[in-house]
Assembly symmetry: C2
Homo-oligomer: 228 residues x 2
Amino acid sequence: MNITSIIAAIPLFEGLTQQQCESLGAIAVRRNYSRQQSLFSEGDESNGFYIILTGKVKIFKLSPEGKEQILHIMGPGEPFGEAAVFAGEHFPASARTLAESKVLFFPRLSFVALITKNPSLSLNMLAFLSRRLRRLTSLVEDLSLKEVPGRFAAYLLYSGKHKNDPDVIELGISKNQLAGLLGTIPETLSRILKRMSQEKFIKAGVRHIQILDREGLRELSEGRRRLS
Amino acid sequence: MNITSIIAAIPLFEGLTQQQCESLGAIAVRRNYSRQQSLFSEGDESNGFYIILTGKVKIFKLSPEGKEQILHIMGPGEPFGEAAVFAGEHFPASARTLAESKVLFFPRLSFVALITKNPSLSLNMLAFLSRRLRRLTSLVEDLSLKEVPGRFAAYLLYSGKHKNDPDVIELGISKNQLAGLLGTIPETLSRILKRMSQEKFIKAGVRHIQILDREGLRELSEGRRRLS
DNA sequence: GTTGCGCCTTGACTTAAGTCAAACTTCAAT
DNA sequence: ATTGAAGTTTGACTTAAGTCAAGGCGCAAC
């Protein structure tokens, strides 16, 4: 498929002219990764950023003892690694595919040259960074001010990962990875799943969670209630 | 003092021409706040962003039970509230002065108009947002992967709040506020201060902390060692 | 099919850090 | 200097969640 039309369909590049998309296409590099492949590691020198075309990539931090905190899971259309382009030289976290993935890579220097000439591109980029900042803020809030059941309830309510039925959440990742995203460990998540099922907040399947008591989950997520 | 020269001295506006600084000056509004005054609260509608001239402002989240997580403490020259200008309509956190403060306020619409015409201003803004993102990433890492002594050790090593002697940290905020910044509560911080003093990592004063064993602190912050 | 390897669950135990309550210190304002 | 409020410390207690270890489940490959 033609790279210009691929680029025109990416949210970050919304509103750009055909010609601007062509200049972006001229500097973009396609890359393919298999499952469980590392794109970069924390501390690596940054020479550009990525946009996912297909697949799934996690951005994460590892503790020396091996615990993993996932900062974000990126899907098709989402950019990552941009902050390192504008701020510093090295990546503050690591990136690894969770599934076979195709991405576009934009080399740093050529991209910075383009962005200085395209006000709407830089405004788009500012909007994306700002939204990322907001999400991280909410992760900090969860980690610091909520208990694990509250974090999980918030995830169910606001992750937007439902299919047709708004009450059925498609996890799309393993419960191990979900634990890492919630800032906990698989054992704890498993126990909470069990308790929340017993208390009829949810019905937990292998790959889906069904919401039974939306209001109850809201109370849990806001700390107005706790599991007994 | 003349507003154009004030603006020219602000890091966010570095590299702008005299004329560009004048247009910024034309839209900026000076505001003064006394101690412990709220600038905005989480959820408020955003109509612009701020830059501190003098004083100190904390950006924070509150849990329903009243625990406070400080996201950042801003000092002179630092902008805040910008993310809401580019991403959404409402502030994701609250802001309150920790001391009497003078700030510049930039109304949203006029500023967005200016930034579309000034590539170097938008690059500066991108750099600031990216750095903010990096700091939040590191806060997430601390909260999720480190214990409180490790967070505090990292704060001592990397906050950059030393005066002449690089081994003496000027806190500049109350220990209550520091606890909020580290994602804990005053009692816990107090106990850790005591233990770290007993074990000769630091010497704790009212307003300063003296570093006695830098390497030990590094080991604590990286999880290679723990308090006994 | 059967084998094997991740993924997931469960139980028993440990522990870091929070809660509650009381007392002490500091400091700004009268 | 006196007062009072805020900041800080300490002790006793509770608890959420992590660790360790064992066993079960499920899917993919042979």
